[in-house]
Every structure is written in C-alpha cells, then in structure tokens.
C-alpha cells in the first residue's frame, strides 16, 4: 500500500454507495473486482479511482462469478479483498461465497439490494435479498450480515466487516438497499475499534519452507466434514460476540417496531410521531442480521404487548423476529416488495397495532399509486392515455397496445387491500 494514508472525507457530503468504498479504503483494501450493475456502479467508479491511488488493484472482470472468485484468489493470498453487487449479480456470487465460506477465507461482499424477483424492471430499492445473503449457497453456513442505516454507519461497518471477516475467517456481508446507495449525507466522524486479529498463517504467499498452504474447500471428505463443524463453532462465537443492535425509546415500550437499514430510519420518525400521540412504542434496530440479536429482542418482547416487523420485502427477517419473541407476545408484519414505506403509513400501522387491530397490509396500489394501470380503473386517465397513443399509432393501434399492456396486469391477481 502507498505511504500516503487514506483520509476519509469526514464532514463532506457522501453517497451511500461511495460510503462502502470509503469503509473498505479505511480498512486498507488491497483488491477489488466487480461487474457493473445498478446501483452498485457508483461504488465501482469510486473504488476504481481511489484504490489505485493507494497502491491497490482494481479490476472489472467478465461477470460477477469471475469477480467473486478473483476476490477469493486475492483473499487466499491474505490480502484484504472486496466485491459488491446487486440482486441478480449477488445470485451469481453465491457460487463464490459458499466456496469462500467452505475454504474459510475472509473477504467482504457489499450488497446493494433492489426489488423484484429475477431481473428487476424498475431498479426500485428494497430489502429483498436478506434471506439469500445469509447463506443460500450449497452447504450449511451463514455469513455475518451487517445492515447499517446511515451513511456514516455504512463506512464504519464496512471497515469493521474486514476485521470480522479476518477474525472468523469467513466472508462478511454489508447490506444497504438501493435507496441508501443513492442517498447523500454528511459523513460524521466515526471510529473503527482496534481488534486483535489473527496472523494469516494459511495465506498462499507465505513461504513453502515453513509449511505447505492449501486454500480451498473440497480437500478430503474428512477435512470438509471438519470444516462444517468449524463453521458452526464460528457461528456460535459470532452469536456470542458480534451481535449488535440499537434501540430507541424501548425502555417503557408496550409496542416494539423492528426495522433495519433504511426502514429503521423511517420507522424512527413514525415511532417519534406515535409517542407524541401518547402511544408507548419503541424501535428495535438489528445492526447485525446475522447473528440476529435474539436475546435482546426476546427480553423486550417479554415486557411488550405486541411486536411489529417492518421490512421492504414480505418478511425475510420476520422468521428471526418470531424465533426471538418465541410466543411471548403477538408479532405482526408490515411490508411491501419495493420502495420505502412512508413514515405516515408506518405510523398508521402503529396506531392500528396500538388499537388492538390487525395491521392492514400494503397492497399493490400503495406501492404504485400512479402506475399506468390506473388507466384501467380510472376512465379519464385511460382516455388520456389512448388519445396520446392514438396521435402516434392511430386509434386501433393504440387500443391494441393498451389492451396488450394492461392485459399483462389483468392476468395478475392484484390484491384489493389498501386501494384508494
């Protein structure tokens, strides 16, 4: 690395995607490989500029699989290596993650999540990849998963993720959603705690004279079985030592809202407003989604009347919340598949929960109140759209096109709940 130390831009407006790169640079990043995908490109561009200046190597490889495997190779040399991707790219990267976990190789993955199943049509932000990120590759493993909710925390946790990865010899994941990736905030002063990290005696660039180094899963059946036990042992250690959470006005809370990442910020405002209305509600924010702060939430649940999980998905952390609450009180869910849920909607949900009612779920029209399919339900809007199309395609062509467009939606059962 270069002699000039990296100085994080404290006090300057910083974008969420850049924050991940800054955190990595603070940690002394040596190697970054990636493949462009929205909204990770800003991170790619940032690292491409900043890393070579510090003497590191930045590469843009053929695809996400190549990227994650090259990062594995760099990490196998004992270097600090990172890659980052989004939904469809992360799916490809699972290949390398399971292998790195099996090979017990520390590296960091930046996950910038966006909505929808498969390739997204709208690139909307969401928290829909949490379940995948905790270890959906083959084999029995989970990865430490950090979910920061501010830009400063993103920098800090990304830097810390390298230490956690080194400490447990496992890939660590930092996850922010697409909204946070594009959000700009002033970077506040932050601190990365000093840790006593183990020497990487297994690294490939060590001398053969001392000992031969073999990095990789799939050595012998016995060794691989041993690794399975070791991974479980590591997960136990992580549960004991790496679990992190934050809470807001939970001391006397009768109702607890559980939210993480961007949703925690929005829920915080809703909680503040609900408190003004006299509802005794608090916010519980898991900072590590694995290890999940089970004990802390369980303790809160034992004195709470009800818990509400708010996520931008259909309940990927809900399972953990239920396990933590363990039947001590009812757990409700409030979520939608894409885009951040507005604070007023969360407030309304808190009101409903406080009134002892079931929380009304978010429907399609809550997510896309101005989508073109409104033309289907609102005759004036439909007529306007037809007129516009007809000007270019003629009356018949416009009708056929609109029917075709709307037909796609008509085949889908759109829940009527929450429709205006």
């Amino acid at each position: 690395m270069s002699e000039k130390p990296f100085v994080p831009p404290v006090g300057k407006p910083t974008m969420g995607a850049h924050a991940m790169g800054i955190g990595a640079m603070v940690a002394g990043l040596d190697y970054f490989a990636g493949y462009p995908i929205t909204p990770q490109t800003e991170l790619l561009e940032y690292v491409a500029e900043a890393l070579p200046e510090q003497g590191g190597v930045f590469q843009q490889l053929g695809d996400e699989i190549s990227s994650v495997m090259a990062v594995f190779g760099a990490a196998a040399c004992g270097k600090r290596a990172m890659t980052a991707s989004v939904g469809p790219g992360l799916t490809l990267m699972i290949d390398g993650l399971t292998n790195a976990a099996g090979a017990e190789t520390p590296m960091v993955l930046g996950a910038l999540t966006r909505a929808h199943v498969g390739v997204s049509g709208g690139l909307y932000p969401a928290q829909s990849d949490i379940r995948m990120l905790r270890g959906l590759g083959n084999g029995d493993y989970q990865l430490p998963l950090f979910a920061p909710s501010t830009i400063t925390e993103t920098v800090q946790l990304t830097a810390e993720a390298f230490d956690v990865a080194d400490l447990y010899s496992i890939p660590a994941v930092v996850c922010i959603d697409g909204k946070m990736a594009n959000m700009i905030e002033t970077l506040q002063p932050f601190e990365v705690p000093e840790r006593d990290l183990p020497d990487k005696t297994w690294a490939l660039d060590r001398s053969l004279r001392e000992k031969r180094r073999v990095v990789g899963a799939a050595r012998t059946p016995e060794l691989d079985t041993m690794v399975c036990y070791e991974i479980q042992h590591k997960l136990e250690r992580m549960r004991a030592e790496e679990t992190r959470w934050d809470s807001f006005r939970c001391d006397d809370a009768e109702f607890v809202v559980v939210a993480y990442g961007i949703m925690a910020r929005i829920a915080k405002e809703a909680v503040r407003n609900a408190r003004e209305e006299g509802i005794k509600v608090g916010l519980f924010r898991p900072i590590t989604l694995f290890p999940f702060p089970e004990a802390a939430l369980g303790e809160l649940a034992s004195s709470a009347r009800e818990v509400l999980t708010v996520e931008i998905n259909f309940g990927q952390v809900l399972t953990d919340v239920r396990l933590a609450v363990a039947g001590r009180c009812p757990v409700q869910f409030f979520g939608q598949p894409a885009l951040a849920i507005p604070a007023r909607a969360v407030l309304e949900a808190i009101r409903q929960m406080a009134a002892g009612q079931p929380v009304e779920p978010r429907g399609f029209h809550d997510v896309h109140p101005t989508a073109f399919h409104l033309a289907d339900t609102h005759p004036p809007a439909r007529k306007q759209m037809l007129d516009q199309l007809a000007a270019r395609r003629g009356q018949e062509g416009a009708q056929a096109m609109l029917d075709n467009l709307l037909g796609i939606r008509k085949n889908t059962v759109i829940p009527e709940v929450g429709r205006d």
């Binding site: 190697y31 190597v57 490889l61 495997m69 090259a70 005696t201 490939l204 073999v214 050595r219």
Partner: protein
C-alpha cells in the same frame, strides 16, 4: 483454518539401493504419494513434467497452483507447492486474484478440458483478454473423466462418450472446440501451443513446451501462457460398448483426434526458437 499439511502421510522413500531423484538441493515438490489417476492416464505425465520442472528450476517457493475441479485437481496430492482450490471452472478467475496479489509468484492453473473450455471458458477467455500473467496447462482428454466419461466441448466425433454413445452428434452438439485456435490471437496471450502425451517422444515435446512457458514467464514477458495437452481417458471412453487400453487409446489420439487439432506452438514471443513437434 484447518491444517491440511498435518494430515499428509510421510514422504515417499525409495526402496533400498535406489537413489531418490533429487535434481536440486532445494525443495523437491514431488510428494511421492500414490496418485488417484487411472493406469495409463496422461494426468500422471503432466504432473510428472510439472513436478520435475518446478523442482529442477528451483521454483518450489515461487509456484502457486490454481486448481478447478476435475481429475486434474488431484495434482494437489502429487505436487507439494502452495495451492488454491476453486470451484469447477473458476480456476482462471481465482488465478487472476492470486497473480494480481502475488505478482512475484508463478501461478499455474491446471485444468481439464471441461474445467477450462466448458464451464470455465468465459473466465479463461476474459483472463486472456485482460492479459493476466499466469500459466494455464489444460489436460484435454476429450471427456469429463471424473464424472465417468460424458461428452465435453472438446470431444471429437470419434470419441465414444456415455452421453453420446455413437460419438459426438454434430446435429445437436456441433463441433469440437479448439481452445488454442480460440485463444492464440488474443493480444494478451504470449505463448500458446498444443502437445500430446501419447508416446515418449510426445512426452519430451510436451515437457519442452511447458518448460518454454515457464521460461517465458521467468523472462518477465507478461501475458497468458496456454498449453493444451492432448491425452487419453482410456477408462472412460467407453460409450457404445467400445473399450480402450492405454496403448490403444494413445494410438486413437494419434489416428483420430489429431485430425481435428493442430499440434505444436501457435503463438511464440519473438526470439524464442520453435519447438519442433512431429
């Protein structure tokens, strides 16, 4: 991390009266362990060439093996150098990361034809396109050996496989891929050539070619050095009731498979005299 080295059996000791082959006073990379390859398989020959070469040139400390998945990856038990094991087809990508982070080392990717030309083709081609700096040795036996002899991208029409028992069906599966022809014109490839492991003479040619790749690398010429070694899979070329012996399979390569593949060097840096092949 677990300690793979601790589980390794004792080093092979030759019988009394036979002197151990020690070319260099430095580290000998031959583990001397019995190999898991089938009798007559050419993997043993490539392994021997690589072990001899690395020991002779005293490169044990400098060499890092990058392996994918396939019969070839068991070379890790034959050659005692630092080794990285990656999933099937990802050896080129892993070697990229290793060679970038350890530029003073010689990274050698050893792959089968399925690993390099099938699942790993994109990674290998992009590595060539990016002018990565490592050596790729491909053992091309026209089949997926570890899984029992299925047809691969390089399989020629005459080779009987378990998935295409009458030989490659050109209607469905097209034609055998010539990886050297594919890669030789990449500006990032500085050395490319094909050898075979079918006879003693061919073994010498192969050994010269692999040595040349190391020499070019040691001379500081940056770029990919790709060598495709034709070899048999005498046990698994068995589709349609056809069976082979090591001898007949080697003859079969000379008679049938070499019709499809140009032998010898395809790309050589300036100033290196050509290696003659039959």
């Amino acid at each position: 991390m677990t300690e793979p080295a601790a589980r390794r059996p004792e080093r092979y000791t030759p019988p009394e009266g036979v002197e151990a082959r020690k070319i260099s006073p430095q580290l000998d990379v031959h583990t001397g362990l019995p190999s898991s390859w089938c009798p007559g398989c050419g993997h043993g020959s490539v392994s021997q060439i690589l072990c001899d070469l690395v020991t002779e040139l005293d490169l044990a400390e400098k060499t890092i093996l990058a392996l994918g998945v396939g019969c070839g990856s068991t070379i890790a038990a034959q050659m005692e150098v630092n080794t990285v094991l990656s999933p099937h087809g990802r050896a080129s990508d892993t070697a990229t990361g290793v060679s970038r982070m350890a530029p003073d080392r010689i990274v050698v990717q050893y792959s089968g034809d399925g690993d390099a030309c099938g699942i790993g083709l994109a990674g290998l081609m992009h590595a060539c396109n990016r002018r990565e700096n490592f050596i790729v040795v491909i053992y091309n036996n026209n089949a997926y050996g570890m899984t029992g002899g299925q047809m691969g991208p390089t399989t020629t029409k005459e080779v009987p496989t378990t998935t295409f028992q009458g030989g490659r069906d050109e209607e469905v599966m097209g034609y055998p891929m010539d990886i050297i022809k594919t890669l030789e014109h990449f500006p990032g490839v500085v050395y490319a050539g094909r050898c075979a492991l079918t006879s003693g003479v061919r073994y010498r040619e192969a050994s010269r070619m692999i040595r040349r790749a190391f020499e070019i690398h040691l001379a500081g010429i940056k770029g990919m050095k790709v060598i495709d070694c034709l070899g048999n899979c005498n046990v698994n070329w068995k589709g349609g009731g056809v069976t082979f012996t090591p001898e007949s399979s080697n003859q079969f390569i000379e008679d049938q498979i070499m019709k499809y593949f140009q032998m010898g060097e395809a790309t050589v840096p300036e100033g290196y005299p050509p290696i003659r092949v039959r």
